[in-house]
Symmetry: C3
Subunit: 261 residues, 3 copies
């Protein structure tokens, strides 16, 4: 229980992320800090939740995830910690932890209210530094989870947009766009396969049609559109050696449909 | 004394920061490198000094701060190290260390001239790698501070722009703009409170008027301007879930005034 | 043998780099991960090779370099590891490792085919996570190099563009542009000095003429063009406190010539 993984929208051009790590090192000098990313679009809770859900399972058991995408800092939204089957999650109760935590299996949720685990002075704008980081560092040292505060029964939960199953079409949408411009959809392999069976299909996105699922980005010539199951386990729309988001002018929420021939 | 905190304008798209850490790990394999940021605007000594001053105190005692914002590399500007009450600071004598070091309390300043602590070949353009990083790593291993070189009596000092106190107004300015577009001013809580007392006031910035100091970014509706004391301890002008710098077209140096009603 | 240095084009806004580190920490909890950069332009194998070649020698002996710039992921391009005189290199066989590895001295090259060192499920799009990271982590723990797979005799090799020596001119080109806009050429100090001898010369780039080699960026006034031998050991074209790439509109491949008077 020595790794703390950080996921925030703080960017890396200020000192926010560094200061959180400094606070944690002061509490647990043997801590291993590991950045997931600090470049979530400011206040984009949903993207942060997707990133966390797609990556948490690759971390060593016992990792503490410190997640601060927190537009409600200073309001009544609760600061919480979640103990799951294999991990700990620390952050605001705005849904950002929920996809990953419920995927791993929630065991217990507490509100952070034991002030002896916080910094002495609590600012109005930076609970990442003053509350969440010190609590994460203490969890990494093995303090009893219950000592953080009272149990919480229900938290804000996000959900992936549901797939729409029609007779001749499976309708999904873009839920995340990565740095390469790949369009990650909510169409998972199992839903895709059970819908398609052995039938012929095409994939429709922004008036374009893709006729098969590729097994590598270079299955087509550079610049050509393709569909592939990506590292999140979801169908992705990509352009070989290019940027599908730019090429298609597609944003989050754009429709992607599997249509039977 | 095992943490080295890095603050530079090297960016993260080249190998500069990584190479400095590599050099340090070669000297002290048990070192813990911690990035404050590498994205200071190139050669922006003042912003780097502000970031350092606003974050150093959160680091464990004994941390060595390695600060390389160094437009004068290769000229006669001195490379220096400063021992303060709780920390060590290593960098060029151009003022970048001065706000933090004098805030913590300077005990001794030396010029870096003991070449046995440098890399063998000193380039003309990258003293971060060849001089500052190896010295920081050696300080983290506990070499005697005096062995670095002769004492220096006076170094280049930066100062925050002074507040102007008038009968009916306290005049400050924007000294830093963070990644969220929040405008950090030089108006600290104590100056603000002693000026205001129990009187009514308004805050003026770029022809806009703010009538009170908020306690959270969400005290107003999204898109609305607000003032709040931020994590640096200074008054900040922000936009709820938005970007104040862009909304107001405000840059560093923009006037921010507290005006009595 | 405890440091793994990462060099990728994954960016830092997704979770790719963090997930690779997570996988490695799960295999070797005592690992020290060190980022060279993750901001290589997507699929820019040549720039990554240059960065690696210019930085590897500053790392502790035994460092494992994990390099993933891999447009051919999922195709038949081989995943390989290279043992050199002082280091290990892990990545795709597309040339990205070749400049550094042959510079240090290649001892043995193997293809990565021992699946017991991979993650159990191999995705089609993220061999960095599923193959390269786990192999790098295992090398950092000291597994026998030969156990990775069969020996490979020849790999894809990149080479720097050759200098053209004419009677009155030495013709090079820009091979890399750093974050400051400095234009790094392929003109090394030795070639430069042996060509010039004691003769007078000028440096030509984009219709501009520079008449001498400076010893610091501040040898000229701010905004003025200069030439200097940089930290890579190559001649660089720079602008004092400015951006040479922008000022000259120069890109990679732009001609830079040393012309005798």
């Amino acid at each position: 229980m020595k790794t703390v993984a950080l996921l925030t929208d703080f960017g890396t051009s200020d000192s926010f992320a560094g200061v959180m790590k400094a606070v944690m090192l002061g509490i647990n000098p043997r801590l291993h800090c590991l950045d997931i990313t600090h470049e979530v679009k400011p206040q984009d809770i949903f993207s942060a939740a997707i990133l966390l859900a797609g990556s948490y399972a690759y971390f060593p058991k016992g990792t503490v995830f410190l997640v601060v995408v927190d537009p409600g800092v200073g309001t009544s939204r609760l600061p919480i910690a979640i103990q799951t089957r294999n991990y700990f999650f620390v952050g605001p109760d705005n849904g950002v932890l929920s996809l990953a935590a419920y995927d791993d299996g929630v065991k217990k949720i507490v509100r952070l209210e034991n002030r002896k685990y916080f910094l002495k002075n609590i600012s109005q704008t930076f609970h990442g530094r003053d509350i969440f980081a010190p609590v994460a560092a203490r969890l990494s040292r093995g303090i009893p989870f219950r000592s953080l505060g009272r149990e919480v029964r229900a938290i804000t939960r996000l959900r992936l947009p549901a797939l729409v199953r029609q007779r001749r079409a499976l309708k999904g949408e873009v839920i995340y766009i990565d740095r390469f411009g790949n369009l990650v959809t909510n169409i998972d392999q199992e839903s895709f396969r059970s819908f398609i069976g052995s039938r012929r299909f095409s994939i429709r996105v922004r008036n374009k049609t893709i006729r098969y699922v590729a097994t590598s980005y270079q299955a087509v010539r550079p610049g050509v559109l393709l569909a592939i199951f990506g590292s999140f386990g979801f169908l992705e729309i990509a352009v070989s050696e290019g940027d599908a988001s730019r090429k298609l002018g597609a944003r989050k929420g754009a429709a992607v449909s599997i249509v039977l021939a």
